[in-house]
Structure formats: C-alpha cells, structure tokens
C-alpha cells in the first residue's frame, strides 16, 4: 500500500502532499523534512529506494523537484518508481511542460490528477487519457 505521496523541492518546501493514512499535521512537517533530507543527501549512483522507519521510500528527481512515495512491503518498488514517472508525464501532458510553478498555482488540478491515479493508497488508473478525462470535463464546465 502507498502511505503517502510527496512533491518537495530542493529547498525543502512541500509542493504536494497526499497521505493515505492519517498523520498529525506536526508529524507531517517533521516527516517531510526528514524525507527530503534523506533524498537530498544521496548521489545519482545510489539506488532510488530508501529504507525509512518501517516502510520504504521510492523517489525520483525532476530538476529541482523530488517526488517521494512512501510504501509498505506489499508494493513493488520498481512499479512505484515507474508510477512516479507516469504521474509526471500526465502532469506534463496536462500543463504542457510542467514546472514547479504550475504545481503551486494549480494545486487543485494536481490533486485531481493524483486522485485519479491513486485512491486509498492503491493504484487505480494508469491510462493517461482516462486520468485526464474528469479534468477536461471540469475545464470545459469552467469555461462556460
């Protein structure tokens, strides 16, 4: 099961966080700080999976932005690693060349995309067109 899904920049600012288990807010900030510290201290030739407390972190870096996913032992690390990429590709498609600013200013949109892909800690949809479908409906409604 996926425990949480984070996007954090190199300065340690959280840009997106989605928890699939309830975590108190002050614990969230601590956890996010520790997680990003862990990721930042690693070099390119280290592996993308970190054992952290009783779960694993799977992370990928895109420019100055880290996407970090916390999982337990029932998930396949490599599959989650590619899930991150799939998510970023969906963002890229929707925002056409996504940047950190896109994510900051369209937080609701990013949430919708993530919620279409991961629900209750499980991968629910991987098909890009279907992930974006509700969002396109929403945009159309908003235009009118």
């Amino acid at each position: 099961m996926i425990k949480f899904f984070l996007m954090v920049n190199k300065q340690g600012q959280t840009r997106l966080s989605r928890y699939y288990e309830h975590v108190e807010i002050h614990k969230r900030t601590m956890l996010e700080a520790e997680v990003i510290k862990n990721c930042l201290s690693r070099s390119k030739d280290q592996c993308s999976f970190i054992e952290y407390k009783d779960f694993k972190l799977v992370y990928r870096q895109y420019a100055a932005l880290f996407v970090v996913v916390g999982i337990n032992e029932t998930e396949n690390e490599m599959a989650v690693y590619e899930l991150i990429h799939n998510f970023v590709e969906v963002l890229d498609k929707y925002f056409s060349r996504v940047s950190e600013l896109d994510i900051m200013f369209n937080l609701d949109r990013v949430h919708i995309i993530l919620d279409e892909m991961v629900l209750n800690g499980c991968i629910v949809e991987t098909n890009r067109n279907r992930i974006l479908a509700p969002l396109f409906v929403l945009d159309k409604v908003a235009e009118n």
């Binding site: 690390e77 590619e82 499980c122 629910v124």
Partner: protein, 946 residues
C-alpha cells in the same frame, strides 16, 4: 500566493492571508462560488506548508451541496485532504455524499466515492457499507464509478470489516477480473487481494481468473492494450497486481491452470532475455517491475525447481547490472531465494559477486542487502569465507549497520563452527574490530560456549590472555578475558609467561579504566583466582583491602570487595573450592543472539530462513545469562543476578529474619505487582485461632482445597510469580522462569506461625498421563520449618510433549500436634513453553490460512468476567507467552498473537485472535495451531483470563 524569502516572512505573510480569508468567510457579504473556491484553494496551499487550518471546514461542507461541478469538486478536495475520520462534520458530509450517490450523475458519484475512499471513517462505513457493493456490481454502473467503488469498498473493509458482510456480491466481484475494462480490473484486483487475504476460501475462484487475465496480458502484442501499454510493456501495473494476488494462494491445484501460470511465468522470464523494444529506461523499468513480481511469485510457490533456478540466474545477471536499483532489488530477491532448497546451491554460485558488491557498492542500503544475502547463503561449505569477508567489511562498515553485522557474524561463526578455536578467534576479532557494537548477548554467548566445550577452554584462555596484552583493548574484551581467566586461567598458568601473578596484574592493569559492571566482574574474577591460585591470595587480599575498593562509592563494588575479602579470609580451602567451583555447563537453549537479531530485523527473513533450513535447536544454545556459581549458595533466584551470583551469597545467613509473618514473602516478589499477598478464601478473620484455621484445612478430601485454589491457579496462567496459596498457617509463593521447553520453578513455603512445622513434606504428583509428557525433578526440603521461616524448593521442569492437566502439589506436615494435609494445583501449564513470534500482518494471515483445517481451530465465545480494558487484555496476552501483534488485525479493537510452543519432541506454531464485543460484554477467542489438543488446551486456559 507569493511567499517571503525567510521563514519569518513566510509566517507573517501566511498569518495575514489567513486573517484575510477568515474575514472574507465571516463577512456579511455572501461569497460567490469563484471566491469560495479561490480561498479554499489558498487554505489548501497553506495547509501544505505545514500550518494547521482551523476554519473553512463549514464553508467546504457547504460547497459539497453546490450543483456546480467546480465548486463541489473543490469542496470534496478540501474535505478529503483536511478532514480526518473523527471529525464532527462527518454527519453533514455523509448527507452530501448520500445525495451525490443517489444523483446518478457519474461525475458526482465519482467525487463522493473518492471522498469515502480517502476519509473512510466508521460512520461512513455504517452509512454506506450496504450501498457500495451494489454500485460496484450493478450492470449499469459506469466503469470509472466502478473503479472508485472498488477502492471505496476496500477502504471500508479495512476500517470496519464487521460492517462489510460477505454476500452474493462476492462472487460477482471476483468476476470483475474478467471485466473488459483494464481500469476496472486494476481497481478490482486491489480489492480482491485484500479480501482474499482475509477470506481465502470465498475468493478461491479468483486464482484461475487472475491466471487467465495475466496470460492474456503477457501474451498480447504491445499494441493490443492501447492506452494501458506503457513504453511497449502491456499493463505493467496490472500485471504486478495480479501476480501479487496470486501470492495469496498456494500453487493452483488444477493442472490446466497451473500449466497456464507456468507458461506465463516462463514468458515473463523469456522477455527479460529478449532485446528491448525501446531504449528508454522506462521500458526496462516497467518490464523489470513485472519480472521481479513474477520472481516473487515463483519463490512464494517454491515448487518448480526449473523456474527457481531460472529466476536465480536472472537475478545473477542483475547483480552486475549498471543500474543500482536493479542490483539492490536483485540482492533483496536473491535473499529469499537462498532459503529455498531448490535454489540454495544456485544462489551460492554468486558468492564472489556478492562479496564484491560488499566492497565496491557506494550505497549503504545496497551493501546492507549484500550482507543479508551473504548471511542467507551461508552454510558449512562457505562459512569460513563469508565470516572472513564480513569481518573485513566490518572494519569499514557504516555505523548504522555494524551491530547487525556483529550479530550475524556471531551467529554464523557459532552455527557453522567445526573447529571451536576458529569460533573463539572470530568473536575476539569482532570485539577488537567493533567492540562497541558487541552486545552483551554476544559476549555472554562466547563464554557459554567456552564453558560448555572443554576442548576449547585452554585455547580460549591463551587467546584472551594474548589479546589482553594490547595496550588499549575494548572493555568487552576485558569482560570476556576476566571471565575466562577466572574460570580457566589455571590451564595456562604453567607457562611462566602467563603465571598467576602475571594474569592477575594484567587484568588489574585494566581495572581502573573500566566501568562499574566490568569492575564488579573483575572482582569476582579475583576471588576466583584466590581459589585457583592460592599463591597470590595475599596479593589479591591487599587489592580488595585497599580503600579504593572497601570504601568505594559504588555500593555494588564496595559490597563485593567486603564480601570477597571476608570470604577469602574465613572460608576454608574446601569451602572456597565449593563456592567458587567451575561453572556447570549451561543448558542448551536457543541462542539469545539469534533472538536479538530477529528482534532487530523484525519478522520475516531471519525467522523464515531458520524455519526452512531447519537447522536450529541442536547447535543453538541458550544465553550465557549470568548464572550462579553454585546453586546451593544462592539465596535469590532472580534471573538478573550478577554474573557470578556471589553478590549476596556469602551473607545469606546474616540477613535479618523476616520481621512478621505478614511480610514473609514480600521481598521475593518485589518485582511483581502481587507483592501484597491476597488472603486465602475464608480467612477474613485474620485473628482466628490457628486451631480453627487448621481444622478448615485438615480435610480428608483434598479435593475441596484443590478447588479453592483454582482461581489462584488461573492467575498464574499469565504470570510467573506470586502467591499460590495462603491460609493462617502457611503461605506458598512461586517464582518461575521458562525458556523453550525447559523451566524452573522456585516454591517458597512460609511458616506464618511462631511454631515449628514438623515432618514437612511437599510432594509434586503427576498423573500417569502427565508423567509421560512432563518431566519434573524436585529436591527434598528440610522436614522442619521454623516459625516465621521460609524454605525453598526448586522444581526443574522439562516439557516432553504437549499436556492438558496440571501437576498437584501435596503438602503434609505436623503443626502443634495436628496433621495437616493440603493439595493445590501447581500452575505449570502448556502456555509456559511459549516463545513469542513477531510477524507481519501478511505472514500472520498466510499462516492463519495454512491452519484452516477444522481440527486445528478451536473457538470459544464467552462472557467477560472482568472489565474489558484493552491494556489489561494486552498485558494478559503477552503474559500468556505469545507475541502481541499490533496492527495486524484490520479491526484495531481485536487482539492477535503468535508464538511457538516448545516441547522436547516438537514445536507447535500457535496463532490466536481475541475479538471483544463491548456491547455484549462478550469475547470470541479463536486458536489455530497445528495440533487439535494444543488449540483446545490453550483456548481453555486463555478463556479463563478475561
């Protein structure tokens, strides 16, 4: 929103913004939908930055009832991110959800379902658990709604399984695996996997459906699945999920299904060898995700040697891959392969690569996996090489993993030692290289082994003596050296280079640099030297007599110095020789190091490995727990007695006699809550004359007395120490310890009167049945018990096989001319031979399933006899001897436990589950073990506790 550069500026900016939004929400002017949306979005962002949001919830709930999709959507988003499952708003939210679910508008339904799936409180489960399955299996439900409904149901099942009853929808859910829409299959597979773990029988049909679905995916051309193909890999995430689902079950029984699955797995392995369809890393990553999951399934089934060896070869290739991720995963996977008998040899062929990884990998987590794998692949044939490499690595290893490596080296060195001199060398090397990381268990253990094997004692003494020559040596070495020379220094004393005086001076040169416990140990070594080497007695006495010892600020050191000095002065050579006799061999027990490693690593690898290799027991001995020099000299049977047990021994007789009969046993039970002895039934009047009281006890039919003690007997099921029986004359206290299939019970008989008991004869009686399964040895006690005095009797216990009844303790004595005869049940019960086993939820339910034969399960539903307090219940389950497994049961109100009953002949794995029903004040207790009688007995014993 633009934020300031510094943290202070950010906080200032945010507070201002929050105030602004608050005033907008509170203002007289009604906000339009767009503004509401804008502000809620801002709140989300502020929350993300780690600031608590304590308002806006009501506004968000209001947005839910909007008919505009955009507003409704932002309302739901706010709630699913910010509202936790115990919010007071749930009822209002539920109302909105109910309306949206009934709206038949798929977009609205989707939002509502997402919200349930993400918040998923019990109240939501109560409101919607009946509705969701219907939506999920209805023919006219849209695919996207089905997807959401599946995960929604999964959430409700996880939070409140009792509210999601299995029903006719279950079979239809399984058929979702056949759904033509892969998104639906993806969502359904997650749901079915969780349901199947808990209800394997009901979801058995999912196996063949999953196999055929998987087969269609892996054999499809990369274009067949259109949008579900990811970089030329057909539906990788779904494939992974299906392979996971199959890991809930043993290999399919139906040969056709089994053949088809084997084909699938072969195809996946073959594809790994084909040239890649794309140069993109995403292609190979996705392909490998499926491959690793397929290998997991192959290992899980552990039945096809051909596939296992192929998997091993594939992983072998990955070990040398340039991608660190693959090397990491390959090492991890191979670790589980090493424990399969089919592939153990194949794994061993990669030893050089793995050793090389240990030396060259730049990532500590990869190196750690390499250590794990070396540990897993170790056997007699390669132990020397692996231990040497691990020792090498230890010199440069990261601090974070040193302790674990030390434990592993210690275990391997012991387990595969043919030549025990090698073992001794290895442990001393460990202390030299990583002394700080050598825990007590490790050095206790080396001492224990040396004491148990006389062929290595001389070598050990010589080696520690040499090691101690180093100008700076680790304190652990001083401990081991002190202990071994104290026991076996005489074996090397013939050599003038290690004469008694040189040995003593060498040890004493380290004395002042050591901590208090080590100094205490050294003092014990010195008194042992007095016995071993009478010629240096005066030198040692001088040291003991010095002010720094006799007036040491530390009580323990001072007491030892005083007592030892006295002992050396007054005791005759014979007495010294008896008191300071060489340690008797330790009973063979499970290695405490192994236990420690298991604890450190959690369940899984280590335990499984051990079980599969079945190499435990015989060469795994007990912990070198500080034991006494000589049992007869010991007054306190505490397991935490000091190393030589001499701390208080020589002074026993000078201890003040118990002041009053009331506090007779209190000191003995000082570590248990039962220090205040409960009064025996019928003794309300403490001043009743002894004669009256005795007339109650003197009974021709001991049955009555036995019955009286029943309640007390049950109290001992979950604890080891306390008062077993008490009347006006006599108090019987117990203190016992158990390890594996062995135990020792100290029975304390306290004479509460001021008159002597004569012909005092306690007898432990086993029925014929019991005699064959329980081996009890008792020593006779002194037939006279003075008034106010207490005598002790030791019972050594060995559990040969599982048993039902309890032995009877019969006590006869004469008191003031009357003959007293009473019997009590001695609380030696099967659960005392429990060893707790920690395991993950997955393991637990897997084993639970394996014990599904009706004869293996015993269940009891009973009324609570005590207040239903969760903490007390937990303590009782732990006291019962099993491990209490937290976060295993999906319902947090339930308790589950696991452990192994050790008997001489066999070990019986036991799982238990206790489900309290607060409303009805009832419990349901279920036990599953491999043996019916054991399930039955444990269930009886435990049912009495609540």
């Amino acid at each position: 929103m633009c934020l300031g550069k510094s943290k202070e500026a950010e906080i200032k900016r945010i507070n201002k913004e929050l105030a602004n939004i608050r005033s907008k929400f509170k203002g007289d002017k009604a906000l339009d939908g767009y503004s509401k949306k804008k502000y809620v979005c801002k709140l989300l962002f502020i929350f993300l930055l780690g600031h608590d949001i304590d308002f806006g919830h009501m506004e968000a709930v209001n947005l839910l009832s909007s008919n505009r999709y955009t507003e409704k959507q932002i309302g739901y988003l706010f709630i699913s991110v910010l509202v936790n499952s115990n919010s007071e708003l749930i009822r209002l939210i539920n109302n909105a959800i109910k309306n949206d679910l009934a709206s038949r508008n798929p977009t609205f339904m989707g939002l509502a379902l997402h919200c349930i799936a993400n918040v998923g409180s019990r109240e939501m489960a109560e409101a919607f658990a009946g509705e969701i399955p219907k939506i999920l299996v209805a023919g006219d439900t849209m695919d996207s709604v089905k997807q959401s409904a599946a995960l929604c149901l999964l959430r409700l099942y996880r939070t409140s399984p009792d509210l999601v009853p299995m029903g006719d929808w279950t079979s239809r859910v399984v058929h979702l695996l056949n759904d033509q829409h892969l998104g639906v299959v993806t969502a359904a597979t997650s749901l079915i996997t969780t349901l199947a773990q808990k209800n394997p029988e009901e979801f058995k049909t999912s196996v063949s459906l999953a196999v055929s679905r998987l087969s269609r995916i892996v054999t499809s051309a990369s274009t067949d699945l259109q949008d579900y193909t990811y970089y030329f890999v057909p539906a990788p995430w779904l494939s992974v999920k299906l392979l996971r689902l199959l890991q809930c079950y043993p290999p399919p029984e139906d040969p056709a299904v089994r053949g088809r699955l084997t084909e699938c797995l072969e195809t996946i392995l073959n594809k790994a060898q084909e040239p890649p369809k794309s140069k993109k890393v995403q292609h190979s990553n996705a392909k490998n995700a499926v491959l690793f999951e397929a290998i997991s399934l192959i290992i899980h089934h552990d039945s096809e040697p051909n596939l296992l060896v192929r998997a091993c070869n594939q992983l072998g290739q990955f070990l040398q891959h340039r991608e660190t991720n693959l090397r990491y995963l390959a090492l991890e996977s191979m670790c589980t392969l090493a424990s399969s008998e089919f592939s153990h040899e194949a794994v061993k062929t990669h030893i050089e690569t793995v050793i090389n990884a240990l030396k060259t990998e730049r990532d500590v987590s990869v190196r750690q996996r390499a250590v794990d794998l070396l540990y897993a692949m170790c056997d007699r044939s390669n132990a020397q090489q692996i231990v040497a490499e691990m020792l090498n690595y230890l010199e440069t290893a990261d601090y974070s993993i040193r302790e674990e490596i030390v434990l592993k080296v210690a275990i391997l060195a012991e387990k595969y030692a043919v030549d025990y001199t090698w073992y001794v060398d290895t442990i001393l090397n460990l202390i030299r290289i990583a002394g700080d990381y050598v825990s007590e268990e490790v050095w206790y253990r080396v001492i224990q082994i040396v004491i148990n094997r006389d062929d290595v004692q001389g070598y050990a003494a010589k080696t520690v003596f040499e090691a101690l020559q180093a100008p700076a040596c680790h304190e652990n070495l001083v401990k081991v050296g002190g202990y071994i020379l104290g026991e076996f220094g005489n074996l090397i004393a013939g050599d003038p280079r290690s004469s008694p005086l040189i040995q003593f001076n060498l040890l004493h040169s380290k004395f002042h640099l050591c901590s208090v416990p080590t100094r205490a140990l050294l003092l014990s070594t010195y008194i042992k030297f007095v016995n071993l080497f009478p010629e240096i007695k005066t030198t040692i006495q001088d040291v003991l007599r010095s002010d720094s010892q006799l007036k040491n600020a530390d009580v323990e050191l001072q007491q030892r110095a005083v007592e030892y000095l006295r002992l050396s002065t007054i005791a005759s050579t014979d007495i010294l020789a008896t008191v300071l006799e060489e340690m008797p061999p330790f009973p063979e027990r499970e290695s405490s190091i192994l236990a420690k490693l298991k604890k450190k690593k959690g369940p899984g690898t280590v335990t499984d490995l051990e079980e599969i290799k079945k190499e435990r027991s015989s060469d795994m001995n007990g912990s070198a727990e500080p034991a006494s020099v000589n049992a007869s000299a010991v007054s306190t049977p505490s397991p935490s007695a000091d190393l030589l047990g001499l701390g208080a021994a020589p002074l026993t007789n000078s201890a003040p006699p118990p002041a009053s009969s009331g506090s007779l046993l209190v000191d003995v039970f000082s570590d248990s809550a039962s220090a205040v002895a409960p009064l025996a039934p019928g003794s309300d009047d403490n001043f009743a004359s002894p004669d009256l009281a005795s007339s109650e006890v003197v009974s021709e039919e001991p049955a009555d007395t036995v019955h009286d003690a029943d309640e007390l007997f049950h109290k001992f099921v979950c604890k080891n120490n306390g008062v077993l029986f008490e009347n006006q004359l006599l108090q019987i206290g117990l203190k016992s310890e158990f390890r594996q299939n062995l135990g020792r019970m100290f029975i304390f008989y306290g004479n509460k009167t001021s008159t002597q008991f004569l012909n005092f004869t306690p007898t432990v009686i086993c029925s014929d049945d019991l005699q064959s399964s329980l081996n009890l040895q008792t020593k006779p006690v002194d037939p006279t018990v003075d008034g106010g005095a207490q005598v002790q009797q030791v019972v050594n216990i060995e559990c040969v096989s599982d048993f039902m009844e309890a032995p009877i303790l019969n006590i006869q004595f004469r008191y003031g001319g009357t003959f007293q005869n009473l019997s009590v049940k001695l609380p030696i019960t099967l659960n005392k031979f429990f060893q707790p086993t920690e395991m993950s939820s997955q393991d637990f339910f897997q084993r639970w399933k394996q014990l599904s034969n009706p004869k293996q399960e015993v269940q009891n539903i009973f009324k609570a006899k005590h207040p239903m307090d969760a903490e007390i219940t937990k303590a009782k389950i732990i006291g019962f001897g099993s491990a209490l497994l937290e976060e295993v049961d999906p319902n947090p109100a339930n308790f589950v436990g696991a452990g192994i009953i050790h008997t001489k002949t066999t070990q019986i794995g036991c799982l238990l589950r206790l489900e309290p029903n607060l409303q009805a004040q009832m419990y349901r207790l279920t036990l599953r073990t491999s043996k019916e009688a054991v399930s039955q007995r444990l269930c009886e014993l435990l049912s009495e506790q609540f």
